[in-house]
């Protein structure tokens, strides 16, 4: 399916699937400027949703709100039909967020970084880490301190977490910015694989996504 086609699942199709994430009547203003209001959307298993909008339209804010990092909003967010504040631990256990700042400490090696950030959810073995590093194209870099890596390589370290985590929902804020062509391909494949396994992805990017799975668009410029 081409990236430009907006694939919206047929309505009778929806009835059989339980939505993973639902947002209802979201409203957010910052510095007395409305970023978005009455924003509703539903994310089903197997979907990749691309959040679009011009600079400063609130893409990052929306993602942070959905993760529960930002609480200055009105409206409701449901995970598997339950308010995310009601069973926060269950929600966080199925969430993987990679923000603008990727969460890679520059003093530690890639392996030490991954070991810690995975242990926050569930511990992983060294073999798992090696495999994941190989998959994102960093074979042999596991024990290199991250300050000796380029920005793109650090981004790849954070993307290795996608392979190491059992989370169902991925929330990725501009994951493509520092990646080279090959890195972009790897990430697109990862997204498609995740969707195929019944996971869901929320991603912001200005990049033209080319994924062989259901791709939906959410344009924040229309939601003022």
């Amino acid at each position: 399916m081409s990236a430009s086609a907006v694939a919206i699942p047929a309505t009778d199709h929806d009835a059989f699937r339980q939505p993973l994430l639902q947002a209802s009547a979201l409203f957010c203003e910052r510095d007395e400027r409305v970023l978005f209001s009455s924003l509703n959307f539903t994310l089903f298993p197997g979907e990749v949703m691309q959040v679009q909008g011009s600079n400063g339209s609130g893409k990052t804010t929306l993602l942070r709100i959905l993760c529960g990092l930002n609480s200055s909003y009105e409206g409701e967010i449901f995970w598997l039909g339950e308010d995310i504040d009601d069973d926060r631990e269950a929600f966080l256990a199925s969430l993987l967020y990679i923000g603008h700042r990727v969460g890679v400490n520059k003093i530690l090696t890639a392996r030490e970084n991954l070991r810690w950030s995975c242990a926050l959810h569930a511990p992983v073995t060294d073999t798992d880490i090696d495999n994941a590093m190989a998959r994102v194209g960093l074979l042999g870099y596991a024990d290199v301190p991250c300050r000796n890596m380029s920005a793109g390589q650090q981004q790849r370290v954070s993307l290795a977490r996608l392979l190491l985590s059992p989370a169902k929902l991925w929330v990725l804020d501009e994951p493509f910015t520092t990646l080279d062509i090959q890195g972009v391909k790897v990430l697109e494949t990862l997204l498609a694989e995740h969707a195929e396994k019944g996971g869901a992805v929320l991603v912001t990017t200005h990049h033209k996504l080319d994924v062989p799975c259901e791709l939906r668009r959410l344009n924040l410029d229309d939601r003022k």
């Binding site: 990092l69 700042r101 400490n105 530690l108 926050l120």
Partner: protein
Amino acid sequence: MSEQSMTVQRSSVARQQAQVSTFAAFRATLRRDLLIALKRRNDLLNPLMFFLIVVSLFPLGVSSDPNELTRIAAGTVWVSALLASMLSLDNLFRADYEDGSLEQLLLSPQPLYFMVLAKNISHWLISGLPVVLLSPLLAYMLYLPADAYWTLLFTLLLGTPVLSLFGSIGVALTVGLGSRGLILAVIVLPLTMPVLIIGAKAVADVSLGLPLGMHYALLGAILAMSLSLAPLASAAALKISVN
């Protein structure tokens, strides 16, 4: 087996698993922070050097007369320990805030209390414990009476963790600020004064031959209270700062 008992069993297994993973996450966080400190020797050495330098300012600034130094020894060591702890507080969350690790910590499904506690413990091990261990040497240089050494060591051992725990709240509140300047000190120092008062007084009192049970009990109570409450406040403050 009835369905109900199955559910009960399953949920108790789930709870046990959750406890295991909480402990694993706690240990991983502690290990990570200690590792970072070991890789950056400065973090280990600077508070210690600062402590040493501040203490040696007092004989130069006040008087080198042994009698006078004996009198101010306890207070000097305590004030210097307080300042050294303040100086090193910035390491606690700043780097994590800047590289995004703090967001990962906040999004951990584990109770945030334990994650913050792990970071506070590692901060104390890095900056508090070395100061405690160095204190007898400095006490000697300040002519503290020999019978007060153990008191100094024990009160510092009980008091410096409180400095880390209270300090952590202040850092968590100010970590998002672009220009912090001295605001951290303005917020944190008044909070730590009870510890300073009791600690310094214990060392002074032992030289007078007074009983010390009360001092230890008060310090212990403050430590217990801050161990159970301060990480919660820090966690809440981190959520506000990251917002």
